[in-house]
């Protein structure tokens, strides 16, 4: 496994804390398929850490995220949250997909509040949930538009709304499945900065699924490169640079080259 520099005391400190989310030897094999999608996935997410799962399309990133979110049980292995086995979707794990999944018949505000009063969510008073919704909408900068319907929102605004819906849950872990994949370059950069701010303000840990190396370099404390079939971690990089990182192009460039060469080296193995 490739390891690169930029180790620091901060990361060692992170590693010592109890992981918020831990996967041990996770394998996933869909019924009727001869080959497993994921095999031997070991992973620990420290509190407040942002990790990118990087890999080409179809490598099994989204399946892996579904397992980590509790939406799908692994075929073997365990996933634990704060030491307890993850049994279904945890209320403090928030998931955002590439499709913002806004319900067109609800206003932005109602979309953000959606599900807060569901049975499996923690009980809270009406004023409490209203306050949370208002705070989440303010965090993503959409207070002005809170009474608009999804059809009146741009792609970036829709994705901000989806992020606010996650934040209203006060998540301990944010799971983001290529959330900015469908956005244009400028909006994407805005959203990456917003993500950095949200992670800082909410002190939440985050897992970001992406196939964009630059995105992973700009936002993560750690990058796991997935490859092979069945997919497993073929490379890991820790990046201890202050964020936002636009001033560290040279350092990031070195890691970028290393990621690309790891990908190239494993390509023949994948074909075999």
């Amino acid at each position: 496994m490739t390891q690169l520099a930029f180790h620091t005391s901060r990361h060692e400190a992170l590693a010592l804390e109890t992981p918020v989310l831990q996967a041990r030897d996770v394998a996933l094999r869909y019924p009727g398929q001869s080959r497993a999608t994921i095999e031997g996935f070991d992973f620990a997410l420290a509190p407040g850490e942002t990790v990118s799962l990087l890999g080409s399309s179809g490598v099994g990133k989204s399946s892996l995220l579904r397992v980590l979110a509790g939406l799908q049980s692994p075929t073997s292995g365990t996933v634990t949250m704060n030491g307890a086995p993850l049994d279904g979707v945890h209320p403090r794990v928030a998931v955002a997909f590439q499709d913002p999944s806004l319900l067109p018949w609800l206003t932005l505000e109602k979309n953000v509040a959606f599900g807060l009063d569901f049975k499996h969510q923690p009980k809270q008073s009406r004023t409490e949930s209203e306050a949370r919704v208002e705070m989440a909408i303010r965090e993503v900068g959409l207070t002005q538009s809170r009474r608009k319907f999804p059809a009146e929102l741009s792609g970036g605004m829709a994705q901000r709304t989806a992020l606010a819906r996650c934040l209203a849950r006060k998540p301990e872990i944010l799971l983001l499945d290529e959330p900015f994949g469908a956005l244009d370059e400028v909006t994407r950069t805005e959203m990456q900065h917003l993500l950095l701010k949200v992670v800082r303000d909410f002190r939440t840990a985050a897992i970001l699924i992406t196939h964009d190396i630059d995105e992973a370099l700009l936002v993560s404390d750690r990058i796991l490169l997935l490859g092979g079939a069945p997919a497993s971690v073929i490379g890991e990089w820790r990046i201890d640079l202050p964020k936002p990182r636009e001033d560290f192009i040279a350092e990031l460039g070195a890691i970028r080259v290393d990621i690309l060469s790891t990908l190239r080296d494993t390509a023949p193995r994948r074909a075999a």
């Binding site: 018949w105 569901f118 049975k119």
Partner: protein, 287 residues
Amino acid sequence: MSMSWPTDSFTRAERRALAQPDRATGPAKPQWLTLGAWRNTALGAGGLLALLVLWWLGTDVLASPDGFIRHFSPTTAIPKLIVLLSGPDLPVHILVSLRRVLVGLGLALLVGVPLGLAIGSFQRLNSATSPAFQFLRMISPLSWMPIAVMVFGVGDDPIYFMLAFAAVWPIVLNTAEGVRRLQPAWLSLASSLAATRWETLWHVILPGVLGHVLTGLRLAIGIVWIVLVPCEMLGVSAGLGYFILDTRDRLAYSELMATVLMIGLLGFLLDAGARALYRLATRSHAA
């Protein structure tokens, strides 16, 4: 590297406005205020007026002076309709008919929506029921009349049965189609929020298929209103269908024509109501 932070990217309307700068003056008007909408309304009104003129020409101007058809002229039917509406009888018959329509549609919704949800959710159920429904759908509801009277007795019950039987198919088929067209992303969202089956049904599926249900309801209203009148000609003593036969038996031909006019008018209003309901329910979806 310094980043410029645009506050937000463009909404669809703004993009449209940017693409066509000469049309980007002021906020977009609601659709009913645009010139095209006014023109369509005017054309529709003109068509109705032409129909009235044809009716008048055929039964009055061009009819022979002592022709029987003169009994059905708008010059007598329209004043008669106003007289009848202010009298005691016609309003009662109208209310009886409308009540039957409402009960029939209510029963059809009660059966049709859950059935449509089930059929839309399970492909096998769809395959199993599709030919049977096509078969049942093609049987004229009126052909059930003798059986309905034998089973439900004389009175309103067999009419409710026949109206519901006629109305249920468009509701079932449209609800099922609505379920098939639900966005998978909405269902993923519900499961990622740990929604129970009931919460998913109530908060995602039902609002998600509402537009399709209302489309089905509008088709059902059209069918029910057409089936209602012949249904009411058999074995009941109130309602617009009954009143048609009653006027014929009393040789009150201008009343007969006035009632025909009333049936058309009410049907027109019911359909307009159904369309308004659909627009109201889906107003937020349009960009």
